[in-house]
Amino acid sequence: MSLFQSISTALFCISVVFLVLVLLWIIVRLFSVLIRRLEKQDRAATAKHPKS
């Protein structure tokens, strides 16, 4: 493998690592927002109609 090829392979590798972890960041953020919203609604519903 030539030096140029090795540099391009290394750049490709680090770019994919970034891509996967950025995707993960976005998904974690999305499901965190979703879960917090659901939990908030649940809490509000419980406060309105407390279990006797």
Binding site: C13, F18, L21, V22, L24, I27, I35, E39
Partner: protein, 378 residues
């Protein structure tokens, strides 16, 4: 007759079969045992590795020999080594690590994932330098992964891409992990200003149980769909974490993070050490690998710190860049180093919890990097 028998006994003994290589390796194993016991450098791993090295270099033991002859029985360490060779032990260790890890800090601040990605930079640098030094792409990948600062990942990738380099790579990876408190601080001080090191970070938001339960499932699905080759590592890491966070599998979680990981660590350390037979280990390549491992570690620290600095700038000083260096996996030692350096600059600074985010992100990052290299060269 008695004298003849004694002479025969002496001639058949291991003393007659000792070579200079095995003697040198026995001295090296002695040094590693000293470092593990007296200096407490990663003793849980260094001790079995060093003793395995000692056993493998005692001649005529056949501990690592394959089954042969009429009995068809191989050496004890040969059978234990199958778990390394087939990639079973690194995955089981990941199961234990998953059960021990709290991903809460990462969930509270998912941008930490960027620092975990940046801290894989050393893998890329070591890969390029290794190729320039004449290693094949498979060997260069295995050497580069030392920069991920993750022992099981390094072992897993090396057994698949360059099994003949397993001993020097595993020993370099674990030795540098033990030396993190010496390697990282000078780089951290060099790349950050006093003002940056003094930054106090805001309290993190609380993370709900449901988020913690969903996280391992989401990560497994996403990472394994994108890179199927990381399934054994990420799958086991996340299964262990699900045991922990579900709250309904305490016995399984307890076994994974205590008994199982301890048993596997003994087998892994012992057999990795046993691969360091003098004739194979004492080559110029070993010195090159050890030097390249250090380069990989240093550049991974640099990568994490640079992303930390960019995030510090982007958030107008809300993030202390010192936590970036914790992106090099090595849980929790790298996070502790960030904490110590932060406190040196500002005694009221407690960075440990903030550094745990990039730290656990680094574990995922290095597994992802290993998966990419495996896809390219496996």
């Amino acid at each position: 007759m008695f004298i003849e028998a004694l002479i025969k006994l002496w001639n058949d003994s291991g003393f007659m079969a000792l070579t200079w290589q095995s003697l040198v390796m026995m001295v090296i194993s002695g040094v590693l045992i000293y470092l593990a016991i007296a200096k407490k450098f990663e003793p849980l791993l260094l001790l079995p590795i060093a003793f395995g090295m000692l056993l493998a270099n005692l001649p005529l033991t056949d501990l690592m020999s394959e089954p042969s002859g009429s009995s068809g029985v191989g050496g004890l360490l040969y059978y234990l080594y199958l778990g390394v060779k087939k990639g079973v032990y690194p995955s089981l260790i990941f199961l234990g690590i998953g059960a021990m890890t709290d991903f809460g800090p990462l969930l509270a601040r998912p941008s930490s994932l960027l620092m975990g990605a940046g801290a894989q930079f050393g893998i890329a640098v070591a890969f390029v330098v290794s190729i320039a030094l004449g290693f094949t792409p498979s060997e260069a990948s295995s050497i580069g992964i030392i920069g991920g600062a993750d022992g099981p990942t390094a072992i897993y990738l090396t057994t698949r891409l360059a099994p003949h380099l397993l001993a020097p790579i595993a020993i370099a990876a674990y030795s540098y992990m033990a030396l993190i408190p010496l390697i990282q601080p000078p780089i951290m001080r060099l790349l950050t200003t006093e003002k940056e090191r003094k930054i106090k970070m805001k309290q993190m938001r609380p993370v709900s149980k449901l988020e913690k339960i969903c996280f391992p499932i989401v990560v497994s699905v996403l990472c394994i769909l994108l890179l199927p080759s990381v399934a054994p590592l990420i799958g086991m890491l996340m299964l262990g974490n699900l045991f922990r966070e579900s709250g309904v599998a305490e016995r399984l979680s307890d076994t994974a993070q205590n008994a199982l990981i301890n048993i596997v660590t003994i087998f892994l350390g012992l057999t990795v050490g046993a691969t360091a037979a003098g004739a194979e280990f004492l080559k110029p390549e070993t010195l090159k690998i050890i030097a390249l491992g250090l380069i990989a570690f240093m550049f991974s620290t640099v990568g994490g710190l640079l992303i930390g600095k960019i995030m510090c700038w982007a958030t107008k000083g809300k993030i202390n860049p010192l936590i970036g260096s914790a992106g090099v996996s090595a849980v929790p030692m790298a996070a502790r180093v960030s904490q110590i350096e932060g406190q040196k600059a500002n005694p009221g600074n407690y960075l440990l919890m903030y550094a745990m985010g990039p730290n656990v992100a680094g574990v995922i990052g290095s597994a992802v990097a290993a998966g990419i290299l495996l896809s390219l060269f496996g």
